[in-house]
């Protein structure tokens, strides 16, 4: 048995040596908020936090992460960033949203008022197949308390 610390809970799971963290979270622990997109480390849909650092769980072995603190999207509840994603329409189909939010969570923890360059560098780790990048960027800025320019077509 392998001990995992997920979202504040200790879980004992049977893990094969070749299992990736993404598969363990979804298939063994039922935490299906973690999405598997490319399974190649490119899209970022599987992003989770390990000791607060975002990693792509599809290219990390579960055994590598044992005994470390894992946070999945199920571990976040009504955070200001999550609310900002709703308020700014920072999602369309929603497939990438968990990864986007977890990645941005670390950015705002490290840099509460991130610059445009910091946001770009951080968020270029995550692809949005709906190309909703503008809403995602606005959500991150809103959560950071950064003043947002009026959107085209907005009413004052």
């Amino acid at each position: 048995m392998t001990r995992l610390h997920v979202n504040g809970e200790e879980r004992e799971v049977v893990v094969r040596t070749g299992d990736t963290l993404a598969r363990t979270l979804r298939d063994t622990l039922g935490l299906i908020g973690t999405k598997i997109g490319c399974e190649n480390g490119d899209c970022g849909a599987c992003t989770v936090l390990v000791e607060g650092i975002p990693i792509k769980s599809c290219i990390v072995l579960t055994l590598d992460i044992a005994d470390r603190l894992i946070t999945t999207i199920e571990g976040l509840t009504d955070t200001p960033l999550q609310r900002a994603f709703v308020e700014e329409y920072g999602f369309q189909c929603g497939f990438c949203t968990a990864g986007q939010i977890l990645n941005a969570t670390e950015l705002l923890g490290r840099s509460p008022k991130p610059t445009d360059d910091e946001i770009r560098e951080q968020m270029e780790s995550n692809l949005c197949r709906c190309t909703g990048y503008e809403g995602i960027e606005r959500a991150v800025k809103r959560a950071a308390g950064i003043e947002l320019p009026l959107q085209k077509g907005s009413h004052t």
Binding site: T17, T20, G41, K56, C58, V60, L61
Partner: protein, 273 residues
């Protein structure tokens, strides 16, 4: 499960790592040392790699940390590229690390893993080639130190069972003039068409290039009287073949590389000579 029936070791000392290698190799397993494991998992998924045993070196203290002493800055092979990018200890190295993959992936990719990996780019080695860095490697026959330009000839020339423990670079690299550019076809997060780095090292200008050829290369020319033509001719004299792939033709890579030669000299204050 991407990896089938792989044996996984997590040694906490160099001795344990070497013993694990001996044990697995003696059983006929295909043994790989592992840092972040990003390349191993992706290549395994593609069927390009089927390791029988993985030895994860991240828990070995000597392979971790960034430290200064005896005139060098020492980077553990298991230090992540994010940490190196954010450290700023050697600006050229940090700039190079910051453009490899994306930030989230850099949180997993390690310095040693990038340099010893299967992909042909291995950009993290460029600063060590330019500034006369050294590799600290260990294996069944013991630990040795080797100059980067000797040990890295297109790839790291390790003996059977060896792995990289750390890399060092002279402390003078933290303030030496440098130039860096990276050209991609499809935006920042992509493999490079050309990654070109240069630095002033004593009385020479040192250059290192990745992406343009089958593997990273390095060369130096005397700083006195250097011109773009001198650099381009030196590059041509190496007799290397530019790569053609889906991202760009050999001719395009050649043009980008030769343009970078000129830009590097301009940036290093050698352009007017």
């Amino acid at each position: 499960m991407i990896l089938e029936d792989v044996r996984y070791y997590q040694p906490e000392t160099i001795r344990e790592a070497v013993d694990a290698y001996r044990e697995a190799a003696a059983e006929g397993l295909s043994v790989h040392y592992m840092g972040g494991g990003t390349e191993i998992t992706t290549h395994a998924r593609d069927g390009k790699l089927a390791p029988g045993a993985l030895i994860d070196i991240k828990r070995i203290p000597e392979a971790n940390g960034i430290s200064r002493g005896s005139g060098v800055i020492r980077f553990g092979a298991a230090v992540t590229l994010t940490r190196i990018a954010d450290s700023g200890d050697v600006p050229l190295l940090s700039a190079t690390a910051r453009r490899i993959a994306d930030r989230t992936t850099r949180n997993s990719i390690t310095l040693g893993g990038n340099i010893a990996g299967m992909l042909p780019y291995r950009e993290a080695v460029l600063a060590f080639l330019i500034y006369g860095g050294t590799f600290e490697v260990t294996g069944p026959e013991g630990t040795r130190t080797a100059a980067a330009r000797e040990l890295f000839d297109r790839r790291v020339r390790l003996e059977d069972g060896e792995f990289i423990v750390a890399l060092s670079i002279p402390e003078s690299a933290s303030t030496a003039p440098w130039y860096y550019t990276r050209r991609e076809r499809d935006g920042r997060v992509d493999y490079p068409l050309v990654t070109f780095a240069a630095g002033l090292v004593r009385d020479a200008v040192a250059f290192a290039v990745a992406g343009a050829f089958l593997a990273p290369i390095a060369f130096s020319v005397p700083a006195a009287g250097v011109t773009r033509d001198v650099v381009v001719n030196e590059l041509k004299a190496l007799g290397l073949k530019y790569r053609t792939d889906m991202r760009g033709s050999a001719e395009y890579r050649r043009a980008l590389t030769e343009r970078a030669c000129r830009d590097a000299l301009d940036a290093l204050g050698k352009g007017a000579q």
